[in-house]
Symmetry: C2
Subunit: 420 residues, 2 copies
């Protein structure tokens, strides 16, 4: 600390973890600087809805400045962090260096291609609004091109959509693409029949969809996807992706549109903090979420590899990041009062995935597990409640009510269209 | 006509004119092909709202396929038209040639820089959703950069916004940027005061704002802009635009953000139809809106230069395009029944421009002219009523009600952000 100055807390990343920490610090005698390379906080669980033209970007994103406007001790900055100097205690950014007394790294994860980065061009992932709009454009354009296709073969390839990875994101994308094809677009084309002629193939390397979920819910999800005519291919690994399609251990699939939902890697900034990051780039943290040897440097959320005080490996989900952020604030508060820091214990509040219009699976703790319409309603409520601004809640609810009643999706624009 | 086949009508452009013609042809024994290089119909009068983060793109755009889904005799195609062969009666496109028995060119206008195309990079126009999102990003980023500016000089340059051209578009943009600065963002920044430190300069080569409007309304608009602290500079011409700012006949203005609302040129396809297009590229048409010597080829809307049967020069406004489209259908219908074609007479239904939250000017015919809140309410109603889908109407109304009550704008995202 510099003399009488309040301690400077620098938070990198305004996702679930970083924002939770920033807001919780409102009552502490510190000065907070929250740095993000975007001007908005993104509600990632609903990105797949933007990607499938169901919601607008602004329905699931809120300007960081708005969220923090009333918080006197916090300023938000739009900048790219280029490095971290633990010795001089500085964060290096595109707009200059920032000194810190405490640093919280909360930069999350990005998609990973297992060493095959050249696949990214043909199979975008889904981590940002730009990703979602890119995928949206590809899906809508594929149908437009199919309408004009000269050959049966070409038309089939254009109407084949492959989703790689059957975790929650992949399952949700697969279900939503089927919905567009079977409901939204079904009357819009003259030469193609989107309902019967399009196919969605969901590829999973492991033996089941939704790997982290219990078997009962895996079965429920599989059944619901089957009823939606999603072609599930488990125990299948992708070996190559080109603009012609996807090569797998079970053969080649000609496909115009491929979405990557199979792997994540931690933000590269994790490696600025530690030398012993794991294979995904996540940096290991101690029991209070600080970096070994640097008690004033913390890592939370998807960029950190956390095993909590009850020896539970903490999953890369939003509630875990938020709890991590709040825990770091508890540590800082303890420091300022000369008390001992608490250790981190993760409270699992349950998981959910939605599979289209009125189907979902949900579990709460390890006991309550259910699927179908009840799960879907709960999923909807939880997600809307979690959206950060009242405005987003109202707009998202109304978008979904509209979609449910009319089968129309609200954001069917092809924008940024250079190729025709 | 090819034997027993119904006549094939090809319409290029799904703006106000092309869409009006397509829909009106529903009752005719023809086959319609509507070609556009975007998948959506755009309500251009509200583009400035997208550019100033007040509305989402999907609020003012509707998928063409949805609009025409129920029309059996019309198909929509996503393609770029590359040429027109009047001899073989073919439209050449990025997906192949299309034969026509009737052709309607309705490709509208784009922005023009009076021979200085290199200005476009620094001063985008406002004709498409991509334009609007580009301008939105520039405006929001300018404030973000100003927050971090090192010098007074740099901060002032970053918070200076220049709008070139004081027609309705320029006036609306200028007012809306002042609104963002004085209402929406006023609490969001710590180092800058957006209300007192930002300035919006509206440059107009002629002697008054809103050149096509009567003097009484010009005065009303000037007064309202003055109250919003928009700096109006008439009798001022732009001579250069660089990334540092704008050079005018009255001196240099350092400015980060420049919006071009000063000149339009007809779509280049006009020159495919006629050799004697005017200086803006608009092609001349005969009394029934067909091209001289080619009675089965029509041009309507901003791509055409129209003087109607009462010798009125027809302005480049949406109602004129729609009336043109409907007139062409009347001509085709007359042909099919062996009757004489009607001549085109334009009915002026009035003009409007809005200048921020509760101010506007409006005139109906040449008699009723009024400004202020009543005009603004009327403007709102007319624009919402004109939006093509019920969904857009509801969303836009709710966005505006929200904005009015809370000063929050609904789409404050910076997306597609490569530069930081």
């Amino acid at each position: 600390m510099a003399g009488n100055q309040p301690p400077r807390v620098v938070i990198v990343g305004a996702g679930f973890g970083g924002l939770a920490a920033a807001k919780k610090l409102a009552d502490q005698p510190v000065e907070v600087t929250l740095i993000d390379r975007n001007n908005h906080h993104l509600f990632q669980p609903l990105l797949y809805q933007v990607a499938t033209a169901g919601l607008n970007p602004s329905d699931i994103a809120a300007p960081i400045r708005s969220i923090l406007a009333k918080q006197e001790n916090c300023r938000a900055l739009l900048a790219e962090v280029t490095g971290i100097d633990k010795e001089s205690q500085q964060v290096l950014t595109s707009v200059g260096p920032f000194d810190y007394d405490y640093l919280i790294l909360a930069t999350g994860a990005t998609h990973a291609y297992f060493g095959n980065d050249h696949w990214e061009e043909h199979a975008p992932g889904l981590k940002s609004i730009e990703d979602a709009l890119d995928i949206r454009r590809r899906i809508l354009l594929a149908f437009e091109k199919a309408e004009l296709a000269e050959s049966e073969e070409e038309r089939e390839r254009l109407m084949t959509f492959v989703v790689v990875g059957a975790g929650p994101t992949g399952v949700e994308m697969a279900g939503a693409i089927r919905e567009i094809a079977t409901r939204t677009l079904k009357k819009d084309f003259h030469r193609i029949d989107t309902t019967t002629q399009s196919q969605v193939i969901l590829i999973e390397a492991g033996p089941s969809v939704l790997p982290p979920f219990p078997p009962k819910l895996q079965r429920s999800a599989t059944e619901q996807l089957f009823h939606m005519a999603v072609d599930i291919r488990t125990d299948t690994r992708v070996t190559d992706i080109t603009d012609a399609g996807v090569t797998t251990t079970m053969g080649f699939i000609p496909a115009e549109t491929v979405v990557w939902a199979a792997g994540v890697a931690a933000s590269p900034l994790g490696r600025e903090l530690a030398d012993d990051c794991d294979r995904s780039g996540r940096c290991p943290v101690t029991a209070d979420l600080s970096i070994d040897g640097h008690p004033n440097v913390f890592a939370i959320g998807d960029v950190a590899s956390v095993v909590d005080a009850e020896s539970k490996a903490v999953p890369g989900v939003a509630p875990a990041a938020e709890q991590g952020g709040e825990h770091v604030v508890a540590c800082i508060a303890a420091d300022l009062e000369g008390l001992q820091r608490p250790t981190f214990i993760y409270k699992d509040k349950g998981s959910m995935a939605t599979i289209g219009r009125s189907k979902a699976v949900a579990m709460i703790g390890n006991k309550i597990q259910f699927g179908g319409t009840a799960a879907w309603a709960l999923w909807g409520l939880v997600h809307v409640a979690s959206l950060i601004s009242f405005r987003s809640k109202v707009r998202t609810m109304s978008s979904w009510i509209w979609q449910y009643l009319t089968d129309q999706r609200n954001a069917r624009l092809i924008t940024g269209n250079d190729e025709l």
